[in-house]
Subunit: 199 residues, 4 copies
């Protein structure tokens, strides 16, 4: 087997993987211990309680695991981009492209972020965007706007597009087109005002 993360012992990792699969398939509300146990081939839910302090703990472990997987895909792509605007574009495009690689993880993360009471993950990404926008504004590559509000709107819009795509994964080319569409939208939305203001 050997297909385990280095952070967790075998069973834990197996349970986390099953949880992600179940959330992706049945949604947050449908992810009961018994369903997860069945998926994991466990004969009882007791094993889950043994390995995790509770549902919150299990879900937190899932978020950690998913972030590792998605980070490995997205981070190099974002790092390869130069400048705040290109990085924004890279974030959006790689996030959409990620659907083609790890649809279950993407679906599960969105469900978790949507339902799990204010995890550090969701706040982290929000803060990341907000900070990114502020830095870009200081550098003059983004126009003046309320960074927090815009970060919230854009990350949520991104999630919605990604979730829809993950529900019925399109071909890579179509996925790339979706990413470009959305990145265009976000770049234009945040671009500096050229000369005279619009309305």
């Amino acid at each position: 087997m050997r297909a385990r993360t280095f952070t967790e012992s075998g069973r834990r990792a197996q349970i986390v993987a099953s949880t992600i699969a179940v959330i992706a398939e049945a949604g947050y509300a449908g992810a009961s211990f018994s369903r997860i146990a069945k998926h994991a081939g466990l004969s009882s839910t007791g094993m889950i309680s043994y390995h995790f302090a509770g549902k919150d703990d299990l879900f937190a472990a899932c978020i950690t695991e998913i972030e590792q997987v998605t980070g490995a895909f997205m981070e190099p792509r974002i790092a390869a981009a130069v400048g705040p605007v290109a990085q924004l574009r890279a974030y959006v495009e790689s996030n959409v492209a990620l659907v083609g690689q790890h649809p279950d993880e993407v679906r599960a993360l969105i469900e978790l972020v949507r339902n799990a009471a204010q995890s550090p993950a969701v706040n982290g990404r929000l803060a990341l965007f907000e900070e990114h926008f502020r830095a870009g504004q200081a550098a003059g590559v983004f126009r003046a706007f309320d960074a927090r509000t815009v970060a919230l709107a854009l990350t949520s819009g991104l999630d919605a597009v990604v979730a829809t795509a993950a529900a019925a994964v399109p071909e890579p080319a179509e996925l790339a087109r979706l990413g470009r569409e959305l990145a265009d939208l976000y770049v234009r939305a945040t671009a500096p005002v050229p000369e005279g203001g619009t309305t």
Copy 2:
């Protein structure tokens, strides 16, 4: 199919109101019959089943009620705007402003739309935006983009901002500012390309 009395028979309306309040407070998953009954001052959940065929029926009634309330607030404001761009701005601003008037209804509707498996409400709004964008593109006031994807991203971003605002309702002035921020964002995101394209 029998005709119902004027105020929706009193109790029915009261149950709907309580359901909206409970969803706003405890979320979709937390809106159990017993919690709703307690909020409504009913001695048992049987009364809810007496008035509504089931949870779907109750939630549908809530959506209808909320749409009536929100429509009464937003529609005249949108109708007063001239042209697709101004109407987009009016939609966004009046939706955010609505939070100050009916925060519970706004929160509940978002929860319902998010969870009640593909209601006509959510599809309706999405189709409305999509159609609005296509018409504006034909008129040359919106640039060329994938109307469906953009509609999805922008409505979801709007929901997120509205939901966040509804969670801790700010003062009207701050609410108005939020609305303008978001409307600006959306107008710029969809504005026609002046001469040379960006990026």
Copy 3:
């Protein structure tokens, strides 16, 4: 599909036994999970759902258990009889005698067969009788009659006598007399016509 332990895992068997007792005492309609749980000394009905997939599953297990018990009693007695007529008599008499040994099982089986929408058990016995009559007719030991209708009437009559006896179990001698009475009735009812027919 997992293999079950020897005594049907202890609790399972206990629940089945309690269910049989409750059905015998309170009838099919009165056999609620809560009553069964109380009889079995369980603190909640959840335990029953834990061991059985549902009411159908539980009842099916009861039928299996009862058939095992009754089969062990009746089958050797029937097998010892020679010829279709003697076997018919042996079936009836051993079935009535069974009441003295397992009154609860007999009562419960009749209730189950009467209510559990066309179980294989009831159809099986009916088909068995029908086939038995046809074979006997071919051998000339039964007169010509509609095998299906007669099978239906006689098995139902047998059930009624057995159920009545099980409601207030008489002494073995009286039980034996009842069995002989009924066997006589059935043997005469199905006997070949000697010379001139009656009317």
Copy 4:
């Protein structure tokens, strides 16, 4: 309308008729007040409780009504027969034939008799048969047997055949054949022993 029995006021009769229809269609267990009310076109179950002291009272009224209907059909046919044997035959045949005329009433009565805790109706018929057999034995037209046991077996067998026929009403000719089959069976089963004993 004018289609009311002389025993009950309009609404009562209507409720009784609906109850019979519902029991025939949904069985004893399925005959809830709400279903009966719906069938009767009543907007609430309160009306049933108003007219009847309880479920037992309602069901008793149904039995009375059904016995009137069935008696009107069967009694003249039985009265036309001469002698205990012919009367037994007439009872069986007219009871089976009744299925063609009043299937709902037949179905409902069997359900009621089977479930309603020992009504006078079922005991009455049993006593009637028993007494009939005793009288016939005294007259020498029936052989010596346990009148009570035989009455129980034969009435139950008759019920089963009738219930099966009522579940999918056959053509009158087939119904008549069934009746003759069963009557033959019962007449032979109870016939005096000619010379030497059988078996």
